[in-house]
Amino acid sequence: MTNHTAPVSPVSHHRHITRNSCDCKMNFSEVFKQTNQLCKVSPDGKYLATCVQYRLVVRDVSTLQILQLYTCLDQVSHMEWSSDSLFILCAMYNRGLVQVWSLEQPDWHCKIDEGSIGLVSSRWSPDGRHILNTTEFHLRVTVWSLCTKAVSYIKYPKACQKGIDFSRDGRYMALAERRDCKDYVCVFVCDDWHLLRHFETETQDLAGLEWSPNGCVLAVWDSCLEYKVLLYSLDGRLLSTYSAYEWSLGVKSVSWSPSSQFLAIGSYDEKVRILNHITWKKITQFEHPAIIDNTKATVYKEAEKRPGVGSDEMPLHNITMGATLFNTQSKYEICPLPVQIPVVKPDPDRASPKIGISVLAFSSDSRYLATKNDNMATAVWVWDMQKMSLEAVLEQTSAVRCFQWDPLRPRLALCAGNTKLYLWSPGGCVSVQVPTEGGFQVQSLNWHCSGDSLILLGKEQLCLCYMDTDQEDK
């Protein structure tokens, strides 16, 4: 793999152009500052909002020119676009404050003060006109209306992994509730916060809930002490209960396929179980063995190469020249099977051990499933949902931080806390050096909703990566 750092292109200012072996051109933007990794593209894909300390900067995605600049009262801890891309919410949790900014009317302002009751979480309702604030100790959820200034309270919200979920169409909200030492689920109509259903769940200690993408089925799972997944219909009927085993740490992650056809459950036993949407029974299970001998799978192993420096002077050189330390080139090699994936044994005495499937992500077409097993931190597994088999394994040189599917294509982007961006698609795998000065380490990434660009987030910086769509389409 050769990365050509081309001169700055005249059209898009301050951009580096990179070509990779796939002959798909990638342009990288200049690096911008950000704090707390607060950087979000508006749902319509036009604007990019970033927080720098107490300032909120809104840029045009295509030109990266600053459109608006807002000043908040304190350092922002959470930032979110409203669903109609007209408002931006900035929450300052340590001051119990939420400020809302309008893109259309820069003068318009709104400030919500939760006061001494405190604030731990703030979010938009799907309609973009209400703000849901969860107070400290999960005392209650306050719903503020921007239309009427009205405030309503929802009591007994449960403090758990994922206690609130909105259906994809934004009509319903499911909320986990804890009363009298029992778990309940409330289903609200988001239009007028009318309580549609309220039912007790058969859980010991509910850990999370998630709507199916079509909004008709609610998956509820128990805490890791017990493997239990419950499926409720929108009207509160229990459709099915699934438990794979007992007496051992159970569910670690749950994910619906975009088609609502599959429910993937990752657990502490290093397996992913796939349930179907008709009988809610297990179709198959994906194991994550340390030795891969499945002949149908392709194993891509990242191989690092340090350019042009003699091995004896390496250490000194690296210490003195920090920037070049990160400029090692790498490429993927296809490993002949069987392959041994490095495994880290978790400490059994510590709580929430680093083992099991922590991340599950379906591609937008529900064709592929990407998973990560916590005790094999350097590997990402891609499964083919049509063949119900392992498609590829990406073995990185360092631990994988984050991966995300292209919202339109079956293309997976991942980062591993180094200066490189990795992409997988059914056709192959590439590793791209982010050509920026000062050792930009990619900690996290987000796809633009068009799938044409990626936002790469470093510790205090961000950078955009543009995929050359013409080339891609070819």
Binding site: S83, I112, F137, W144, C147, K149, L196, L234
Partner: protein, 572 residues
């Protein structure tokens, strides 16, 4: 049996001369004491009478016809008598010699037995010691086991206790947690109340101006109607979801049905194409009604195909018909398979049967041809020989060389085959030796088994005290074994030992002599003094085969004494 005859011989002679030596001894002593010489001028008559008496007591003819004929000796008779006496003497000597040898042998045997007895005693001692050691160890181990069992029990109790502790703790913990949660909730409630009561001005929303709803509508009051509407909407979404799902399923079903139909059609076509071909043999099979049934079914299916799509009943029919046809297809395929296999065999048969005659003809023809060729070759050879004899030396040598070469080759071939045969023989011989070794091993094992069995039998039978039993049985069994093993120890007594060792082996089965011997032994127990050798045999046999052990035992002891004394005598 040569042995028994010699024994009898010895026996008879010894019986004959049993009583005489004592008397003779006393008489001769008397005579010697008074005169110094046996016969003098004075006592010729007495001597004569005495001698004749003695001679007659030996069962010989007297040396002289009658006492009345004076002192003249009938020389012929006297010579005969002397000759007889000498013969008698010789025989006696021979017997003595035999007896001595026998004596020696039995002495050595006794020595050996004693030796082996001591050895066995030692062994017994050792094994007893070992036994006690083992017993001690066993006791210790049992103690250990007991202690371990106790430990295990304790551990189990401990585990039970711990489990109880855990369970109680878990319940306690759950209880505590619930209590804490309740408390926590109470606190939350209280905090909430306080915050509400405080009417904090800080908790507020500050909006420049209210914004409209995203959909542009005004918000609605919460009314019953709204509730109903929400319910309705919810059900609508659910319904639509079910609708889409049903449609999907229908689509899938339709596709599957299409596949099914296609399959069915294929099957039907296959089956129908088969039918005309199979019709011929159908008549033979008598399956005409099946065929008509099939046709009916097919007619029904094809006519109803369009109707049966969405009806449950029809669906059942469809699946049933498919199943039926599938079964039919299966049987058809099976039949085809069997046909193919039978055809294969039939083919071979038919090809064999039809042109058999032609084959035979061909064969005959070929045979004839071969014969002709052979004749031709023979004629050629003859011609060649005729040619070779008168032709010059060179060609002769050439020819001979040729022959030589041929001969060499032939010899080489023969050599090879012989070599192979030799190898085979070698292998066979090895096998034989191995078999022989195995046989001997087996025999040995059998012997041992038998010995133990005998011992066992004896132990069961013998009413002796326990202290005597083991030693006796041991010594005996040891004798049996040792007699065999030590057969090569001495060359001279080998024969005897062999006899000895073999006799117990064959005796128990059929030998009448042993039975006889036993009978005589039982009848004349006093014989023991004169027949030590026979006694020993009897000891062996009677100990096993007759029940009167006490008698035998006593006798055995007596024999030992006897033999010992005899040994002394012979040595003197």
């Amino acid at each position: 049996m040569p042995e028994s005859s010699t024994v009898k011989d010895v026996l008879s002679s010894s019986v004959e001369c049993r009583t005489s030596p004592l008397r003779r001894f006393s008489l001769s002593a008397l005579h010697r004491n008074s005169l110094g010489v046996f016969c003098s001028e004075d006592n010729v008559q007495e001597c004569l009478s005495h001698i004749s008496q003695e001679v007659s007591s030996f069962g010989l003819r007297p040396a002289w016809t009658e006492p009345g004929s004076g002192s003249e000796l009938n020389i012929v008779a006297a010579l005969n008598c002397m000759y007889d006496l000498i013969q008698l003497h010789r025989r006696g000597l021979r017997t003595l010699e035999n007896m001595e040898v026998e004596q020696l042998k039995s002495n050595s045997n006794v020595d050996f037995l004693q030796l082996s007895t001591t050895r066995l005693k030692e062994q017994l001692e050792i094994s007893k010691r070992e036994n006690t050691g083992l017993l001690e160890r066993e006791r210790q181990l049992q103690l250990k086991v007991k202690s371990l069992q106790n430990c295990l029990k304790n551990e189990k109790e401990e585990v039970q206790k711990l489990q109880n502790v855990i369970a109680s703790r878990a319940s306690q913990y759950n209880h505590e947690m619930k209590r804490k949660e309740r408390e926590f909730n109470k606190l939350k409630e209280r905090l909430n109340q306080l915050l509400v009561d405080k009417k904090e001005k800080k908790q507020a929303i500050d909006v420049l101006n209210n914004i409209g709803r995203a959909d542009g509508k005004r918000s609605l009051w919460k009314t019953e109607k709204m509730e109903a509407k929400h319910e309705g909407e919810m059900y609508k979404t659910l319904l639509s979801d079910y609708d889409t799902r049903q449609r999907e399923l229908q689509l899938e079903n339709a596709e599957l049905r299409k596949v099914l139909q296609q399959m069915k059609k294929d099957m039907v076509s296959i089956l129908s194409s088969r039918k005309p071909a199979a019709k011929g043999d159908k008549h033979e099979h008598g399956g005409t009604q099946a065929a008509s049934e099939e046709e009916d079914d097919e007619a029904f299916d094809s006519s109803k195909e369009s109707v049966e799509l969405y009806c449950v009943h029809a669906r059942e029919k469809l699946t049933n018909s498919i199943r039926l046809q599938w079964r039919r297809l299966k049987s058809h395929v099976e039949r085809l398979d069997s046909q193919v296999s039978s055809a294969q065999t039939g083919e071979s048969k038919s090809t064999d049967a039809v042109p058999r005659e032609t084959h035979e003809e061909e064969m005959d023809r070929l045979k004839l041809e071969i014969q002709q060729c052979k004749d031709f070759i023979q004629a050629q050879q003859q011609l060649l020989q005729q040619l070779s004899s008168p032709c010059d030396e060179e060609t002769a040598s050439l020819l001979s060389d040729c022959y030589m070469l041929q001969e060499k080759e032939r010899l080489g071939d023969e050599w090879k085959t012989l070599e192979e045969q030799r190898k085979i023989f070698e292998r066979e011989r090895r096998n034989f030796t191995e078999a022989a070794i195995r046989l001997s091993h087996e025999r040995k094992a059998f012997e041992e088994d038998r010995a133990t069995w005998l011992k066992h039998q004896f132990l069961n039978l013998s009413p002796f005290s326990d202290s005597k039993k083991p030693s006796l049985s041991k010594s005996k069994s040891a004798f049996l074994i040792s007699a065999e093993t030590d057969s090569s120890a001495a060359v001279a007594p080998e024969k005897f030992i062999k006899h000895r060792s073999e006799s117990p082996r064959c005796v128990p089965l059929t030998s009448p002599s042993t039975a006889d011997l036993y009978r005589t032994l039982c009848l004349i127990p006093e014989d023991s003094s004169t027949k030590p050798k026979r006694k020993t045999e009897h000891v062996e046999e009677s100990s096993v085969f007759c029940g009167n052990a006490p008698v035998r035992h006593k006798r055995w002891d007596g024999i030992q004494d006897r033999t010992l004394s005899q040994e002394k005598n012979s040595s003197i």
